[in-house]
């Protein structure tokens, strides 16, 4: 990596991180809403642990995984809003007059979201452990949880950036948010897939990559080092991230050309 490229990424990343952290409206809901859902679910669905075959004694252990993926959904919204704001205010147009590299621009834009993802992951871990959740895989597992959470934030953040770059509209980004939410709700969020009784729901959950992301976290929290669950979780998160970054990069090229 050349010094000039590193400088470009560094400057844009600094701007992106500061811009994200200076907006309480972006940070607070991204932390608060997943924790609210965690609090309500862990008390409201504790009875589900009595189902034969349920993998945990505490629903808190089971549902903690949802926080990390839900946090990623907020990353998509935040990244999309930031990028669409740059399009609407003409910031991208001005950058296109400089010799800035496209990759640097995208990496810099996503740095703020990954930072937010790190804050979220650490907060959810600390709150979960304080509330009584245990992590079967110990400190190394906690580290793996943070890495997986960052990968998910990067992937969902890139989806938000892709939508913003394609449409140039903050409203379009907000419009995509419910669809992302649906991806979480139509997964194995509330029960393990083999305990979902409704056929059509189990089929959707099986095809939904979010289920495997959740199961990756759950393996680390509940079961231990389950290679298959981890491989699928990281593969799904990585696949989404790769596809979204390629899409966002292509959309950025188109937008810079238009500019």
């Amino acid at each position: 990596m050349s010094a000039a490229f590193a400088t470009q990424v560094g400057m844009l990343a600094r701007r992106s991180v500061l811009r994200t952290l200076r907006q309480p409206a972006m940070v607070v809901p991204a932390l608060l809403f997943p924790l609210m859902l965690l609090a309500v679910n862990s008390g409201g669905l504790q009875a589900a642990t009595e189902l034969p075959g349920f993998p945990a004694d505490s629903y808190l252990d089971f549902v903690l995984a949802v926080c990390f993926v839900q946090g990623g959904l907020f990353a998509a919204n935040s990244a999309g809003t930031n990028v669409s704001n740059d399009v609407e205010t003409g910031f991208l147009s001005r950058l296109s007059l400089t010799p800035l590299r496209r990759v640097a621009l995208l990496a810099g834009q996503l740095a703020g979201i990954v930072t937010l993802g790190l804050i979220q992951a650490l907060t959810f871990l600390i709150v979960g452990l304080t509330a009584g959740a245990g992590i079967e895989t110990g400190a190394a597992g906690a580290l793996a949880i943070v890495v997986l959470a960052l990968l998910i934030s990067l992937g969902f953040g890139a989806i938000g950036a892709f939508v913003a770059l394609r449409t140039g509209s903050g409203e379009a980004v907000q419009g995509v948010f419910p669809l992302m939410f649906a991806a979480l709700f139509l997964s194995s969020m509330a029960l393990p897939r083999d305990l979902i009784e409704t056929d059509w729901f189990r089929t959707i959950a099986t095809w939904n990559p979010v289920s495997y992301m959740l199961e990756g976290f759950r393996a680390l929290i509940i079961q231990g080092w389950d290679g298959e669950a981890l491989a699928l979780g990281f593969a799904c998160a990585g696949g989404v991230a790769l596809a979204a970054i390629v899409g966002a990069s292509s959309a950025l090229r188109t937008r810079m050309t238009r500019t």
């Binding site: 862990s42 409201g44 669905l45 504790q46 589900a48 009595e50 419910p178 709700f185 979902i196 409704t198």
Partner: protein
């Protein structure tokens, strides 16, 4: 009745009708408004009824109909309440655009605005509830209760819609900005989700059980589900609490209207 009183009463209903019609028209012609209002109850219904259907085999889970009906009881209340809350958003937008201030200047009796917004909230909720009910029936919801039971259940939903609409109106008319959205949404969201959403009250544990015990929505929800399951429970307390909340919310909304009048004077 004197001519003045007749004119005033006619003015009241024409203002209420105009406000209601404008809101309903905006709702049905703006996909950005109608889609989220429909999608969220549908998400909740699909996720809970589909994803959690096995929960009804937990020991101690007692309900006369199937789990789809159990979830419908909650989604009905949620759709009704959020039909009211989203109308609060419309009021805030009307204040930002200046429409409400013009109505405040023109209306002979300004309480008609609240009635108009309430009627719009009712139309919005009725539409969402109709769609959710159709989906629930297609998904195999069992309805054990009879006609009178269903009347009781939908009356409770109507009360929930009115309470939420009046609460949202009070907030929107005091703050008069779209940024007040979370102040309308979060309290209603919390009250709804701190009730026995997924399992009956007896199966709740920990702090959620304690919160549900003092949450008025618990009574509305349990009574509504009782009607649906053909086994009415807590009927009188539920209606008493619902009507009490309605009175409080009406006082809150009228206070909001007075605040908006003072700011426009």
């Amino acid at each position: 009745m004197s001519g003045g009183a007749r004119t005033s009463q006619g003015g009241f209903w024409s203002v209420a009708r105009a406000v209601a019609w404008r809101n309903v028209h905006n709702y049905f012609t703006n996909p950005a408004v109608i889609v989220p209002g429909l999608l969220f109850p549908m998400f909740f219904f699909a996720a809970f009824a589909g994803g959690l259907s096995r929960v009804d085999s937990v020991p101690g889970f007692e309900f006369q109909a199937n789990y789809t009906a159990f979830v419908y009881g909650f989604v009905l209340l949620q759709a009704s309440a959020f039909g009211g809350v989203f109308t609060g958003f419309s009021i805030a937008r009307d204040f930002e655009s200046g429409f409400s201030r013009r109505i405040l200047l023109a209306a002979p009796r300004r309480a008609a605005m609240i009635v108009g917004y309430w009627a719009a909230a009712l139309c919005r909720a009725a539409f969402t509830v109709a769609v959710v009910t159709a989906v629930a029936l297609v998904a195999g919801m069992e309805v054990v209760g009879g006609g009178l039971d269903l009347l009781g259940m939908y009356t409770l939903a109507l009360i929930a819609n009115a309470v939420a609409a009046l609460f949202g109106s009070g907030v929107a008319m005091r703050l008069r900005t779209m940024q007040a959205g979370p102040a309308m949404q979060v309290p209603v969201f919390l009250l709804l989700f701190l009730a026995p959403v997924w399992v009956p009250y007896d199966l709740l544990t920990g702090w959620v059980e304690a919160a549900a015990a003092i949450n008025p929505v618990t009574l509305l929800l349990e009574a509504g589900r009782g009607f649906l399951g053909g086994d009415p429970t807590q009927v009188l307390p539920a209606f008493a609490v619902g009507l009490g909340l309605l009175v409080l919310a009406a006082v809150w909304a009228i206070g909001g209207l007075r605040s908006a009048e003072r700011s426009s004077a």
